[in-house]
Amino acid sequence: MIRIRDLERSWREFRIEDVNLAIDRGEYFVILGPTGSGKTLLLELIAGFYLPDGGKIWIDGVNVTDLAPEERGVGFVYQDYALFPHLTVRENIEFGQRVKKLPEEEIERSALEMMELLGIEDLKDRYPDTLSGGERQKTAIARALILKPDLLLMDEPFSALDLRTKQRMQDELKKIHRESGVTMVHVTHDQTEAMVMADRIGVMMEGRIVQVGGVREVFNKPLNEKIAEFLGVENILEGIISEVDDGLSIIDIGGIEISALTDLEVGSRVNAFLRPEEITISKVSQKTSARNNIEAKIEKIMNLGAVVRIELDSGLVALTSRRSAEELGLDRGAEVYASFKATAVHVLEK
């Protein structure tokens, strides 16, 4: 559907370079990256709002690199929805058909259909500044979808919504995606959002796409330390592989030995990544060959609401529910066991 080769562009303080990407027809693709990584610029380049300094873009096999935005047939939904403030909801939705000079009758009919589909027909004569965040988002999506684009680009579509509306709109958007089959590319800095929405994820950092893959793959096997850190893998342990036995290796992390799955050889220097929520804290040892078990002392407990963040003297950080922390009577200075599956450790050669 989209193919991007060696894309390069500077704009103000943003810079993207060496972007190569292929997105399949009908896919829900999320570009995940921290603020300032150039995600929005990449989306704007695909839409044709800017021309690249170098590289090429194909949409549906057509080289669109030099085409004007109005010739690309790509829908775009901005972060705060960029509704035309001087037009009503209905006029916003009809805008694209009106500039195409379609027959009045057809314009009205399809606008009505689209509004009914999204349940916003009651809002049709309202102006954008009287709408709630969710209503604005629906209007913006309707305005883009009514032209039946093959491709819909969305820039942080949920960031302007409150939590409840966001959860509802996420379901809604997934439904639209399933039913319309339109290819969606969605940009966000929010890991949870990416997990919830994506078929595949492209991680973007400092103007480059640094990793592409399925949700589990990206979150459980980040390609390097920087990506791991951005994705919230708080435990990044340096060590050396001291033993290999049928795929299950022992890694020596400054005296502590942990088992992990890896194909690397004995003596390799590695980083081991471990998400804090993979660690179980308990008062009894749970050691098995496939499960690591580390004796540790709690250095600090921080209450984060439903979750408690526990820092151990071994440097490990664990997240556990407040309830279980209370049931176990965990407290500063308590002697505990931190256990985690060997498969939860993701090993990368340094």
Binding site: E44, A47, G48, F49, A68, P69, E70, R72, G73, V74, G75, F76, Y78, A82, F84, P85, H86, F95, G96, V99, K100, R143, A144, L147
Partner: protein
């Protein structure tokens, strides 16, 4: 509780500082108020002069010339200034700040100097005057000269205001419009222009007001046909204050009424 009567938003104390400041500010407010009210008040002692001025065809013609000329110059400024403003708001090009600087020059140089410069180019042998002269059109001491002098002085107000208007239109709205299939021209007509319209209209009013009050450049470029400020000045030098004041009052009242009428749609829209 504070006794300062101005302390209506209930800020604690600090009354003495604000009392001193109020006294100082009052000097300025009174200077302006007294100057203007005095003019009106004095005229009440000679109302017949005011009424006869209001019926004097010479006076009415002069005011008509002023209104017609500033309206023409505003229309020209609108036609050429709005595209320029859009360009300045949306495009970067080498020399852009030079262009912005040039547009603002008429606001920065002394009005008389502008008049001298305009006279130099508009006179029969001038760079602009000569080609017009060949077509049989005289610019100096002609209605067209008044219009051009007003245009020169009022241009920056329109262009600057319209440019800020276009700048305040979110560029992403134009992007979205393009992605919905609109050409650059359709985008300008359906999105950018309507959204900047209130600023553009405001710029027109400013230019209109600046044009109608222009005296210096018009005095030099086009003494005839007499516009209202010229007539007021002429009467002042020839017959003194009592003869020029009724015209001044008539002129300023008409200006302010028109000004208010022009602002009306804007005030309505805001409600």
């Amino acid at each position: 509780m504070p006794s300062n009567p101005l302390n209506l938003i209930k800020k604690p104390k600090g009354g003495t500082l604000f009392l001193l400041f109020t006294a100082m500010g009052l000097v300025l407010v009174l200077f302006i108020t007294i100057t203007l009210l005095d003019m009106f008040y004095r005229q009440t002692e000679d109302l017949p002069a005011l009424f006869s001025a209001a019926r004097d065809p010479v006076v009415l013609t002069a005011i008509g010339v002023s209104i017609a000329a500033t309206t023409c110059s505003t229309l020209i400024a609108f036609t050429f200034g709005v595209p320029l403003a859009y360009l300045l708001a949306r495009r970067n090009f080498p020399g852009k700040s030079l262009v912005e600087g040039i547009i603002d020059i008429p606001m920065m140089i002394p009005h008389v100097v502008a008049g001298i410069a305009l006279y130099g180019v508009l006179m029969r042998s001038g760079v602009i005057g000569a080609p017009f002269d060949m077509l049989g059109v005289t610019l100096v001491d002609a209605f067209s000269g008044i219009v051009l002098a007003m245009l020169f002085m009022s241009l920056p107000y329109l262009v600057d205001t319209a440019r800020e208007g276009f700048r305040s239109v979110d560029e992403r709205l134009e992007n979205v419009s393009r992605s919905l299939g609109a050409s650059p021209w359709q985008t300008f007509r359906r999105v950018s222009f309507p959204l900047a319209f209130s600023s553009i209209y405001n710029g027109c009013i400013l230019a209109w007001a600046r044009g109608i009050s222009e005296f210096s450049a018009v005095l030099i470029v086009a003494y005839f046909p007499r516009s209202a400020p010229i007539l007021i000045y002429e009467r002042f030098t020839s017959y003194g204050l009592s003869s020029s004041r009724p015209i001044a009052i008539l002129f300023v009242v008409i200006c302010l009424v028109l000004f208010t009428l022009l602002r009306l749609p804007e005030w309505r829209r805001k409600r």
